[in-house]
Assembly symmetry: C2
Homo-oligomer: 220 residues x 2
DNA sequence: GCATGTGAATGGATTCACAGCT
DNA sequence: AGCTGTGAATCCATTCACATGC
C-alpha cells in the first residue's frame, strides 16, 4: 500500500493535528491543481518546512520537483481528520451560546451536524432553535446519544454545572467533548476535551494591551 | 520596590499568559487565605513547578515554607493581566454568534464590557440585543471606537468578510482582536489577534475519534 | 521542616539545510 | 532546475532537584 499510516497514531501532536485542519481550509480556497509547500506557506502565512513535516507524518504525498496535488491532498486530509463521514453532535445548555451554536453554519456543514439540544429549564423543553432542533430534557440524554449516534458533546452551560455535564456525557458514552464553560475540567483517559475559553482569550488580549500601555509610558 | 516587573515584558510567552488567567480563576474559587503551589496544582490538575515558574516571572510573591497569600496573589494577577480596570469591546457581525456574544455573561463581567454591535444589514441597524446594545452601521465604527474608548474588537462575521473587518478595526486604532471567523488572518505587528476557531476544534475531535475507531479495528 | 524560586536537565516543536527524486 | 522528505541543529517549554529563606 502506498499511503500507509507510518507513524504510531498516538505520536501525532495536537499542534500538528490542528494545522492539518488549517491546511485543509487553505487548500479548499485554491483553484490550481498543484501547489508547493513554499507557495502554500507564502499565501497563508504558514511555514513551508512545517507543512512538509506535518504532511510527511502520514506518508509521501508530494511529488519532488513539483509539489502537492491539491485534490489528492484534500482527499487525504479529509480522510486523515476523519471527516469523510458525518459526525453528530449534541449541545447541552440552550442559553444564548448554546442556541447560537446550534444554528451556527460552521457546525452544520463539512461533516458535522448538531442533532440535539439539551436543557434543564422546563420552560425551554419542547421549544426549538431557528434551525429546528428541539430542546429536550437531560433525562433523555443517554437515549438520544444512542438513537442518533452522537459522537461529540458540546458543553454550553455555566461554570457551576460544567463538570457534572461532562461526567454525564462521558457516562453516556461520549468521548469527544467541546467545552465552552470557563472551568478547569478534570480529564479522563480515553476522553478528549477541547476547551474554548473566552475569558482566557480576553484576558490574554488585556495583558497585551496593558503591556503596550506600559511600554508607551516607559519610553514616553 | 518589591514587586518589580523583573523580566522584559516581551519575554512572557503566550502559554504563560494564558495560565495566569487560569491561576486567577482557580484562586477565585478558594476559601483559604494561603495556598501552596503543590496544593493549587493538586486541586486543579496543574503542575506545581510550572505555577512557581510562571509566577516568578513577575517577582517574588510567595513566602518560603508557607505558600502564597491568596488575596495578594489574586490582586497581583489582576494587575498583571491588566483587568484592574474595565476594557471596552465592540462586536462586528450581529448574526447568531455576535448577538449571543453580546449578551454572554463572560464578556460582561470581570472587567470586560461589550459597548457596541456593528452590522452591515440595514434591517438590523437600530435594533438592539437582549442586553440592550444597539446595532450600528459600519460607517460609525471609527467614531464609536473613539467615543466609547473601545480597545478590543471582536470579529463575528463570516469568513469572506473577516479580513476586511480586521483591517477596518486596525485602521480605527484597535490593536487587540478576538476573531471567530475560520480564516488564516494576515498578522500585523503591534496588533494582537486571538482566534477561536470552532472548525479546527471540531476537526481535532474528529481526528481523535477516527483514531480511536481505527485502533479498535486493529486490535479487534 | 517546608515551600519557594531557580539553575540544570529534559523533552518537544520548529527551523535549517541538504540528499534524493522528478 | 525545483521541490519533497528528513536528519541535524536550534529554539522553546516543561520538569527536576536543590539551595535558599521562612
Amino acid at each position: 500500500m502506498s499511503t500507509v499510516q507510518r507513524s504510531d497514531r498516538e505520536s501525532i501532536s495536537e499542534m500538528t493535528t490542528e494545522r492539518l485542519s488549517v491546511y485543509l481550509r487553505c487548500l479548499e480556497s485554491l483553484d490550481e491543481t498543484t501547489i508547493s509547500s513554499r507557495e502554500l506557506a507564502d499565501r497563508f502565512h504558514l511555514n513551508a518546512a512545517q507543512i512538509r513535516k506535518d504532511l510527511a507524518h502520514f506518508g509521501e504525498f508530494g511529488i519532488r520537483g513539483v509539489g502537492y496535488n491539491v485534490g489528492r491532498l484534500k482527499e487525504h486530509l479529509i480522510r486523515t481528520l476523519g471527516i469523510d463521514r458525518s459526525r453528530h453532535a449534541l449541545i447541552v445548555g440552550a442559553g444564548n451560546l448554546g442556541m447560537a451554536l446550534a444554528d451556527y453554519k460552521g457546525f452544520n456543514s463539512e461533516g458535522f451536524r448538531v442533532v440535539a439540544l439539551i436543557d434543564t429549564d422546563p420552560k425551554k423543553i419542547g421549544q426549538a432553535s431557528k434551525g429546528d432542533i428541539t430542546i429536550e430534557a437531560p433525562a433523555q440524554l443517554g437515549e438520544i446519544v444512542r438513537r442518533l449516534h452522537v459522537e461529540i458533546g458540546i458543553i454550553a452551560v455555566g461554570p457551576a454545572e460544567a463538570q457534572a455535564v461532562c461526567d454525564t456525557l462521558v457516562e453516556a458514552g461520549i468521548c469527544a467533548i467541546l467545552n465552552f464553560a470557563p472551568v478547569q475540567m478534570r480529564l479522563r483517559d480515553g476522553v478528549k476535551i477541547k476547551s474554548v475559553d473566552l475569558r482566557i482569550n480576553l484576558e490574554s488580549l488585556s495583558f497585551f494591551l496593558k503591556n503596550a500601555e506600559d511600554a508607551l509610558c516607559d519610553t514616553g
